[in-house]
Symmetry: C2
């Protein structure tokens, strides 16, 4: 069996390794246009930041062996043609035309099965100046080296990152670590478009406290030079003013590399522009498989095609393709859009649907905003985690979870991903037997509390109101009681605009201070006391009582600090 694999970074080597394990006598050739193989592209921001010291570390196995052509041949028995470009697929004769980048020599490689793992390329915006020397993407090792070189010359004070997605945000931390003044320029109304607006806004507020400027709803128009040498950018012109720039990083996103597949007449997904595959990772040609950042996935919740290029998915798909090539029967069931990134000491993650996406799909929803500490609150290392949970109002099914904050968010997102995959309801989520000890969780884990808050809303015990709606009331000068039920000491430190303080413990005896004919919106730090207050008021006959979703902890607007 002859197998040719085009692409030597993630899905390609994974497929090759798995095939040779299942069929030790297979004749496998990996074709990779770059010099480097199997490097850890996701690690580049941490190489730029200096957390990872040596380029070599991104190329090594966990045992410290560099994954070069020799490694693949001797250890894995895989032939590698690196620095070799695949030009064309001759499907009729089952062969691939390749060209050595160094020598220009061309050759045809025959295959019984072909795997396309051609990956993705960064999107370059169609604006002037993107070809200048100090403009980078963060896609390959050479990008990272280029950025590090400018940094090493002590020339970079101002960095403009165009695009506030996962890579833009990861790059932000990397550059800020070097003392650069970083500005993120994002065309959309928010960074991290994988999140709902108000969660993204919490991340924006946080990165701004780390000295980063975030300009959302802002369009980069041109990368300009106003200095002596014309080959570098000195300023980024945007529709909201000009920004000085010693380095510009383009992080608009990536686009699947499909030209090889397209030229060969393989089906390309209409919505995604990525190679269409069936659940066996087979393209429209049964002898050609595809995997990784070049293919489209199916969203497990919606059944719709989606494009979520990630190393985790690429590895799974490479393995599935391999098993099926070897005569097995393995299905890749799709993805949930699980995504996570670290920015300074915050994580930002989601799995499943955002509220926005779920609404667009026509779901009726229950949502809850649930801040809480990530382990027993009396443990000195406990940190706050800000969670949003989205469920189907009619079935109670969990649809999505988003988290941010310094607390341990990856754990909760992964549990949520598992629960969503299983089709669990809020009731089932609330009764999961998650591990508990004070260094790891509270007795009621954040996810369980979130499920309970959502159930309280579903069952009418809690009537929530989103921060945005409250902010609108304030801005419109509407007449309502914004009731803070924390302690005077807490209130003095920080509170929300237009709010009145009556501590929870005093509320029952001070009910007469609250007008009965007005809407009352209660809040506290995390809206647990706010919830209790709302129940006291309702029990006392107040008819229009709501609780601010997520309390002060998840208030995305300005707070008042006397």
């Amino acid at each position: 069996m002859k197998v040719v694999i085009v692409g030597g970074v993630a899905a390609g080597p994974k497929a090759a390794s798995r095939i040779i394990r299942m069929m030790p006598n297979a004749d496998i050739t990996i074709v990779e246009k770059d010099l480097f193989l199997s490097y850890a592209g996701c690690g580049l921001p941490y190489y730029v930041s200096g957390e990872i010291k040596e380029q070599r570390e991104l190329m090594e196995t966990s045992a410290g062996v560099v994954r070069d052509a020799t490694f693949f041949l001797h250890v894995k028995n895989l032939k590698v043609k690196n620095h070799t470009e695949a030009l064309e697929i001759d499907r009729k004769n089952k062969r691939v035309h390749v060209k050595s980048v160094a020598t220009g020599d061309k050759a045809w490689l025959h295959y019984d099965k072909l795997v396309l793992a051609t990956g993705a390329s960064p999107v370059i915006p169609p604006i002037p100046g993107v070809d200048k020397k100090n403009v980078f993407t963060l896609h390959g090792v050479h990008d990272a080296e280029g950025i590090k070189k400018v940094l090493a010359q002590h020339k970079a004070k101002d960095v403009v990152i165009i695009g506030g997605g996962l890579i833009g945000v990861e790059a932000t931390e990397a550059l800020a670590t070097h003392g650069c003044r970083v500005t993120i320029v994002e065309m959309l109304p928010q960074i991290l478009n994988m999140l709902d607006w108000e969660i993204a806004r919490l991340v924006e507020n946080y990165v701004e406290t780390n000295g980063v400027r975030v300009m959302t709803g802002t369009k980069a128009i041109a990368l300009e030079n106003r200095g002596e040498t014309d080959d570098i950018v000195t300023h980024v012109r945007t529709d909201k003013g000009d920004l000085p720039a010693d380095i510009v990083i383009l992080a608009i996103g990536v686009r699947p590399n499909v030209s090889l597949a397209q030229k060969a007449g393989l089906t390309i997904g209409e919505k995604t522009g990525a190679i269409q595959v069936d659940d066996h990772m087979r393209t429209s040609d049964p002898d050609i498989y595809a995997a990784g950042d070049c293919v489209e996935c199916i969203d497990r919740l919606t059944g719709q095609p989606c494009y979520v290029p990630l190393g985790s998915t690429a590895n799974k798909q490479g393995r599935v393709a391999a098993v099926n090539i070897c005569g097995g029967n393995e299905v890749f069931p799709g993805v949930l859009g699980s995504s996570i990134c670290k920015v300074f000491d915050y994580c930002a993650a989601r799995t499943g649907l955002t509220e926005r996406a779920a609404k667009d799909l026509g779901y009726e929803l229950i949502t809850a905003m649930v801040p809480g500490v990530d382990r027993a609150h009396y443990m000195p290392k406990s940190k706050i985690l800000l969670m949003k949970i989205v469920a189907d109002k009619n079935t109670g099914r969990l649809l999505g979870v988003q988290v941010t904050g310094p607390g341990e968010g990856a754990k909760r997102v992964d549990v949520a991903a598992t629960a969503i995959t299983a089709g669990m309801t809020l009731d089932q989520l609330a009764h999961l037997d998650l591990s508990y000890a004070p260094p790891y969780a509270s007795a009621m884990d954040n996810l369980i509390t979130a499920a309970n808050v959502a159930r309280n809303k579903r069952d009418g015990f809690m009537i929530g109101i989103p921060a945005e709606a409250v902010q609108r009331k304030i801005q419109n000068g509407e007449d309502f009681v914004f009731l803070d039920v924390r302690t005077p000491n807490e209130y003095e430190q920080v509170h929300l605009p237009k709010s009145t303080l009556i501590p929870l413990g005093a509320l029952r005896r001070r009910l007469s201070e609250i007008p009965r004919d007005k809407e009352v919106i209660t809040y506290c730090a995390i809206s647990l006391r706010g919830y209790e207050a709302s129940l006291i008021l309702r029990a006392a006959g107040f008819t229009d009582v709501k609780v601010l979703d997520g309390g002060i902890a998840m208030w995305p607007f300005d707070r008042e600090i006397p």
Copy 2:
């Protein structure tokens, strides 16, 4: 509606708070025999260690308010009778007889519904000397204060902990933090009986590197005084010799407090000795509910009664009892035996069934031992996590996961708990869309790799052999090839007894060095290269090739360090 709740620590206050939220006019009284209410018992080891500075912190809400009787009355509208003992239940007249501990005054409290949340008490072993001054359990605040007092007098050098369960192990770290020489005396062949032997042994090996002595299979016979004052213990006599002791901590386990229920004629579980409840948390008397450490649970996997007292379960059960008391219909579906503890920088955790428990239940099993880093291996903060996975051979269903090591284990155990709850198979586990970014996970998460290793074993690609079986072969002087396929440099640092080195990259050209008529057992650091080596050997015609389960990383016996 009059509700009386006996027990004011975890399940009791939770039930009370929930009832008052659902029925604001309910008349609720909590009866607690201790002075303290709602203190965080699970936090005691961290108070002893000094990580938690003030006793007060264990009594406070996350907003810093002490949960005393005033708090419960003013904030929650709950009456509290603390320092009050419940003597007897008069079921016919629906009333509870209570006595003030301070004054001895007695009274009858009428109820419409009664909740028993009487908790558990530490088991005191029937040996002489347990009543001496420097013998403690670690159950209440007074125990922690007692231990801290002795420590403050600088008198404690030698600490003997009798019992190596969760509390014993947590106490070990707390005392070692104070510079004490700690010995754990455990009657069973292993500590942490919630784990399989070889995982527990890895924890034992680790705590011993932290200067702790672990004596398993050892029975404490008497706590003796050989000094001047007779009221303290100076030595612990065991069947394996005597141990000096300045402090003795009894951590044998806890027993449910059921005397009140028993006297009232409520059904007690035969196997567990805990109060039997239905899935609505109702005892055999429909007007009496029970929740928390005093009740038995149903194991969600086996359907059998079990006794796993934990604060997390207590809170959930308290809420379920409350909902049902208020006329709702909420089911507590049982537990998975999820347990976790921290000891120095290791976590030790499990969910679902151990291999031992599953075998006892008659399952045919696939198990895999899978060590791996807990995030991208090139991230400097990556740490190893040692995982064991247990699945049903016939259905492929995941039955249990155990972890230990310095890596992030809680996350994987919680995902596993969710997957087990959902009845997921190894195939489904392998395709979970878990969140991936280098600071949080590898592209192939530990759980996904574990599922794949187990699938490779199921499908015959990998033939594993447990460390115990190999150790037996070595001890019996059996003739086999124990093949280390790492690098010479790795081999020089540490290797397993009786092993031969042929690095993986050289294996194909050095096949002739390996006798074809002998059993070959391959290994490396984590058994990934060992697995590749076994495939190379099998492809080359070797017929009896196995891979050491878990590699050196999970070898529980002595290693050779030249």
